[in-house]
Symmetry: C2
Subunit: 617 residues, 2 copies
C-alpha cells in the first residue's frame, strides 16, 4: 500500500514549484484535487501499464478541468515517469508539458482546457470498452465544479446513463471557487447530488481530503451496476497552503518566489525519492474483425439519388472493409440516412439524441481508442459543436463528419435548418479535409476516401435528389476536382460544388446555345483545393466564377480567391448573400443568385466587359 | 370564458390543412401541444395586446419547438389576427409564415427551429422584465421533450433558477416521440419532474389534453415565488386524429389529401367563426434613463494597455450614453475586463457562469426587448455558441460580442485557450461587423461604434499589453482602416490587424534600415473591409501581404484576397498554419511566421522576385 499522504504532499510540492518556475498556471486548482487523484492512481483502484500508455486495457484518466495540469503532470512524476527537472519545463516553448494537457505529453488521453468536454470524451471511451472492444478497463474523468454549468456536461450525463456506462466514473472537485468568484452553488454538495442522481448516475458524496473516504468512494463506484458513478467531493482550493486556501483571487496564479518558500515551509519535509505504485491491468485485447473488400459502387445512371442518401448507402457498403467503424447520429438518422447503416449493423450504430456537443466529444473518445467514427446531423446543427470540433484537432482526432441539408436548396424548412456556414467552420480546422459531392457516385467514393484518411474530414450533403454525373468506376481523391466541360475557347470557368454543379451544367447549355463556351469544374474537394486545375483554368480563360450554396465568407469563393491570390485572375463569387427564407429549392437558388440564371447573367456580364475593354483599346 | 375545446379543434383543423396545402411541415408535433397552447392563450392566463405585438408589457410566447409552426400560426388565426387564406401561404416563397417561425411574422418573438434555444431566449426576456424593465409581463416557452436532450436547456434552467425568474414558465410537450423514434424517456414524466426539480424549478406534472388540469397548471405556475415553473405535460403526438396518434414515422409529415379528408371527418364540425379572446395586459412602461454624453477617451500615449482592458474601460465609459446597455460575461470577467463595468454598474451586469450557449440566447432575449447587450468571454469559447450566434441573425439580433485572448499571442496557456477561428466564425454572419483593434484608443472608439450599430458585431481583443498607436481624438468607423506608413516607393503593403500591426511596424523599421520601404495598413475593420484603401494600395505597390494571428481560412487573408479578387494584385497570407502550442508570445509569433521577422522575410522574398522577373526581361 502506498503512503498516500506522503505522495499527495510530493504532488503538491511539484504542482507549486513547477507553476512558480513557469510564472503562470493553476496551482490552487491542482491542490484541491491532489488527494482525490493521489487516491485514485496510487490507492489501488487505477490499473495502468506505465510503460505502455496506449495499451488497450489500461484504465483511462481524463482531466476535464485541464487547467489543473500541474497536478496532472505531477501525478506521472510521482509515478516515476517524469523527473522533477522535466517538470520545470512546464509551459515553456517546445516542452511536452503544455499549459493545458495535450497529446504532446504521452500520458495525456485527450487535449482539454475548454471546459465541459472531458466527460463526453470519457463517454466515448467507456462506450468503446462496453460495446465495441468489450474490455474491462474503466474511464475516470476529473471534473471541476465550475464547469458543471456547461450544458455539454449534462448531455454527457444523460447519454452515459442511457447507455448504462457502469465503467465510467466522474469525480467532481467541488472547491467552491471559479475563476472570478464563487460558483452558483459554492459548497452546497446536495445540489450536485440531486442533479447527478436525477440524471441517472450513482452519486457518492465525500470529503475530498479524507483518504479513507476517497478510497471507499472509488470502491463503491466500481460496484455500481448499469449506472455510471459520480464521486462528488468537497474540497478546498489551494488545500495544503494556509494562505491560499479557500481564498478568492488565487485562480490561475502561481506563487511568487517568496510565497513559494513560505508554502514549502508549511508543507514540511518532502520525500522526493517516493514513487507511487500503479498495478498493471489484466492482459486483454479487443478482438479485431478481419477486413473484407467492400462491394463496388453501382448506381443506375438514369436514376437521381440524393447525396445524403448515398452517404447512408456508402456507410453500409464500406463497413466490411473498415472494421473499426462506428456511426453516430443526433436523432436525425432518417434524414441524414445514417439509418441505412443502423438497420444493417445496429451494434455499431449509436443514437446520440439531440445533443451534438456530446456526440462530437464521444466520437473523439472512440477515435482516441482507435475507432473510425462517422458522425452525422444537419450541417447547420454541427455548428452546435464547433468548440468540440475545434478542440478535437488538438487531440489529433480521426473523425469523419457528415452535415446534411446543406444550403438554401433544402427549401421550405427555412433558414434555421440551412447549413450555410459549415464549410467555413470546417475549413478553419488545421489540416482538415472538406468534401462537397454533387452526385451519389462521388459521395460514395468520397466516403471511402474519408474512411482511409487519418484526421478530421467533413462531407457536405444535399437534401434533394440529384442526377448521377459520374461513372461507377470514376476515381475521386483529396485535393482533386473534375473538369466537366472544357473547350479551347472558354470565356470563363465556373467553379461549383454540390448542388451548384448542376446549375453550372444547365448554365453551360444555355450559354452554349447563345454561342458562349464556359469551362465547368466540380470542385468536390473544397479543402485542399486542386491548385493545378484552378491555375490552369485561370490562365486559360482569364475569369473565374465560383458559385456555392453557402454564405460568401469562408466558403468556396474565398477558398478559390485565396488559392489564386498570387495568380492574377479575377474571381467572381456567387454565394448566399440575402437573408434566406422558406420556398421551393429553385426559387431560393434564384433568389440568392446562385442558380443557372445567375451564372448565365454573370458570364454574359463578363463577356460584355471583355468586349468593352477590347473596344477601348 | 372561451370554449377551449372548440378553439382547440379549430386550431387542429388549421394545423392539418395548412401543412397538407404546403406539402410539408409538422402537423403531429402541432397537435400534441394544441390543447396546451389553446389553454394558455385563451384560458385567461396570457395577457397580450393583439394590435401591438411590441408592447413592452405583453406576455411573451416563444416556440422553442419551432417545427410546431402550424400550431403557432394557427393560434393567431384563432385569435382573429390572420385568416385561413393567409394560413394557406404557409412555407411558400415570400410568405411571412415560414417553415419555422421567423420575425417575418409579426407575432414571432424570436426565430426558432434549431432546438434547445428558446428557453435561453426566454431567460433573457424574463431577466429583462425582472431586473431591467421591472415590468410584470411573463414569458412562456413551449418546449419539446426531444429537445430537452440539448445541454443548452439545462444551462438555461440553472441560470433561470439562479436569477429566481418566477416570471418564466416553461411547458414541456412530452409527446414521447422524436423525429426517428422514441425519446430517451418516452412517457416517463417522473424523469423530467426529478430533473426539473433538481435544477431549482417548480415542476407541475399534468395531462396535456385535459383542460381543467391545463388551466390549473398555469394558475399554479403564476403562484411560484422566486422560482421558475415548468409545466410537464403528458401528450399524444398527432392527438385528435386516430390514425396518426402516438405513431412513429409521422414526424414532419403532412397528411396526404385523402388522409386529410379522413382526419377532418374525425375532427367533426369546426366552428370557423370562433375567435378566442385574449385579455390585454396592464398599462405599464419601463422607465427610461436619460442619455448623457460619455466622457472622452484619454490614454497616456506612453503607457501600454491591453485592448481587452480597454474593452472594460470603454463599457464603463459609454454606459451613461447608452442607457439600454446590459453586460453579460461567462465567468471570466476578470480576464475580459467586463468586471470594470460590473464594479461600477452591478445592476446592469449579469454573471452567466461557464455556459456560453445560454449566455448568447439570453443576450438575444435582451436584444429583442430593446436592450443593447455586450457579451464577452474568451474568443475561443464563443465557438461554443456558434449555433446560437447563427440563429440570432434570423431574429435580427442587436448583440455586441467581445472575444478576448485572441490568437497564439496569449502564450503559455496553449492551444485550447487560443481563439484562432473566431474571425472566420463571425464573418459568416450576414451583415455582421468584425473589429480587431490594435491599441486601447481604437478599442475604446470601436466599442462606441458597436454600441451605435444595430446588428451583430464582434470585437476581438488581445491578452497582452500593447503600445498606444493613436491620438485620443482619432476617428474610427465601420469599414475603415488606417494607413500607418506610406511612401511613394513602397514595394509592398502589409495589411495587419490587432497584435500584428505592431509586428508590421517593427518590420517597417527593420526594412527601412535596409533601404526597403513598405506601406503598413491597420485593417481594424475586418468586415466590412476598406475596399478603396486596399485597392489603392494594391495598385500603388503591386503586392499585398496580410498577417494575422488567426488560422488562414476565413480570416483577414481571405477577406482581403476575396475583396481584391477582381483587382489583379497578388495577396500573400501570413497566418497561423502550424499546430499551436505553449510558449512565450514572441516565440509563438515567430513559430507561426506571423512576427516581425516573418514579415521582413516575406517582403525581401517579394523584392527578390521582382528583381528576378525584371532581370528576365
Amino acid at each position: 500500500m502506498n503512503n498516500l499522504e506522503s505522495i499527495a504532499k510530493l504532488i503538491r510540492y511539484y504542482s507549486l514549484v513547477m507553476s512558480t518556475e513557469a510564472g503562470s498556471g493553476h496551482p490552487t486548482s491542482s491542490l484541491s484535487a491532489a488527494d482525490l487523484m493521489a487516491g485514485l492512481l496510487f490507492g489501488g483502484t487505477f490499473k495502468y501499464d506505465l510503460d505502455n500508455p496506449r495499451y488497450p486495457n489500461n484504465d483511462r484518466l481524463i482531466f476535464s478541468k485541464g487547467h489543473a495540469s500541474p497536478l496532472f503532470y505531477s501525478l506521472w512524476a510521482a509515478a516515476g515517469k517524469i523527473t522533477e527537472k522535466e517538470l520545470m519545463s512546464f509551459r515553456k516553448f517546445g516542452s511536452p508539458l503544455e499549459g493545458h494537457p495535450t497529446p504532446a505529453f504521452r500520458y495525456t488521453e485527450a487535449a482539454t482546457g475548454s471546459l465541459g468536454q472531458g466527460l463526453s470524451i470519457g463517454v466515448g471511451m467507456a462506450m468503446n470498452a462496453k460495446y465495441i472492444d468489450k474490455l474491462p478497463y474503466r474511464t475516470y474523468v476529473l471534473l471541476g465544479d465550475s464547469e458543471m454549468a456547461e450544458g455539454s456536461q449534462w448531455e454527457a450525463m444523460e447519454i452515459a446513463a442511457y447507455y448504462k456506462l457502469d465503467n465510467l466514473i466522474g469525480i467532481i472537485d467541488v472547491n467552491r471557487l471559479g475563476q472570478r468568484g464563487e460558483t452558483m452553488y459554492g459548497h452546497d454538495l446536495s445540489v450536485y447530488k440531486e442533479r447527478v442522481s436525477s440524471f441517472g448516475w450513482e452519486p457518492i458524496v465525500i470529503d475530498g481530503h479524507h483518504f479513507p473516504q476517497i478510497l471507499t468512494a472509488y470502491k463503491q463506484a466500481l460496484q455500481s451496476k448499469d449506472k455510471p458513478a459520480m464521486v462528488i467531493a468537497r474540497t478546498i482550493k489551494g488545500k495544503g497552503v494556509s494562505f491560499i486556501e479557500d481564498k478568492n483571487g488565487w485562480h490561475g496564479k502561481p506563487l511568487k518566489k517568496d510565497e513559494l518558500a513560505r508554502a514549502l515551509e508549511e508543507l514540511g519535509e518532502i520525500n522526493k525519492s517516493l514513487r507511487g505504485e500503479i498495478a498493471k491491468p489484466d492482459n486483454a485485447y479487443p478482438s479485431v474483425r478481419a477486413s473484407e473488400k467492400a462491394k463496388p459502387v453501382s448506381f443506375d445512371p438514369a436514376k437521381p439519388v440524393a447525396t445524403r442518401h448515398a452517404y447512408g448507402t456508402a456507410l453500409e457498403r464500406i463497413f466490411p472493409e473498415v472494421p473499426d467503424m462506428v456511426v453516430l447520429d443526433a436523432e436525425v438518422s432518417n434524414s441524414t440516412y445514417a439509418d441505412i447503416f443502423k438497420t444493417k449493423y445496429p451494434s455499431r450504430f449509436f443514437e446520440m439524441f439531440i445533443a451534438e456537443q456530446n456526440m462530437v466529444g464521444t466520437a473523439l473518445g472512440f477515435s482516441i481508442r482507435g475507432k473510425t467514427p462517422f458522425v452525422s446531423t444537419f450541417a447547420a446543427f454541427l455548428t452546435r459543436a464547433f468548440d468540440q470540433i475545434r478542440m478535437s484537432q488538438y487531440s489529433h482526432a480521426n473523425i469523419k463528419f457528415c452535415g446534411s441539408h446543406a444550403g438554401v436548396s433544402i427549401g421550405e424548412d427555412g433558414s434555421s435548418q440551412m447549413g450555410l456556414e459549415d464549410i467555413a467552420m470546417f475549413r478553419t480546422i488545421l489540416d482538415s479535409v472538406v468534401f462537397y459531392p454533387s452526385d451519389a457516385v462521388s459521395t460514395e467514393k468520397l466516403v471511402e476516401v474519408m474512411a482511409e484518411h487519418k484526421g478530421i474530414s467533413y462531407l457536405r450533403t444535399t437534401r434533394k435528389e440529384l442526377p448521377i454525373l459520374y461513372r461507377n468506376d470514376e476515381v475521386f481523391r483529396t485535393g482533386g476536382s473534375k473538369i466537366l466541360k472544357s473547350n479551347q475557347s472558354d470565356v470563363a470557368v465556373v467553379v461549383a460544388a454540390g448542388i451548384t454543379v448542376h446549375e453550372a451544367l444547365k448554365a453551360y447549355e444555355v450559354l452554349k446555345a447563345a454561342g458562349i463556351l464556359i469551362r465547368v469544374i466540380d470542385l468536390y474537394s473544397v479543402k485542399p483545393v486542386d491548385m493545378s486545375t484552378l491555375t490552369q483554368a485561370a490562365s486559360d480563360t482569364g475569369a473565374i466564377i465560383t458559385v456555392e450554396d453557402h454564405f460568401a465568407e469562408g466558403g468556396i469563393g474565398e477558398a478559390v480567391a485565396s488559392a489564386l491570390a498570387g495568380h492574377l485572375a479575377p474571381v467572381y463569387s456567387l454565394a448566399v448573400r440575402r437573408m434566406p427564407k422558406s420556398g421551393k429549392p429553385d426559387e431560393l437558388l434564384d433568389y440568392e443568385e446562385i442558380s443557372k440564371q445567375a451564372i448565365v447573367n454573370k458570364v454574359k456580364e463578363i463577356v460584355k466587359g471583355f468586349k468593352q475593354s477590347f473596344r477601348k483599346k
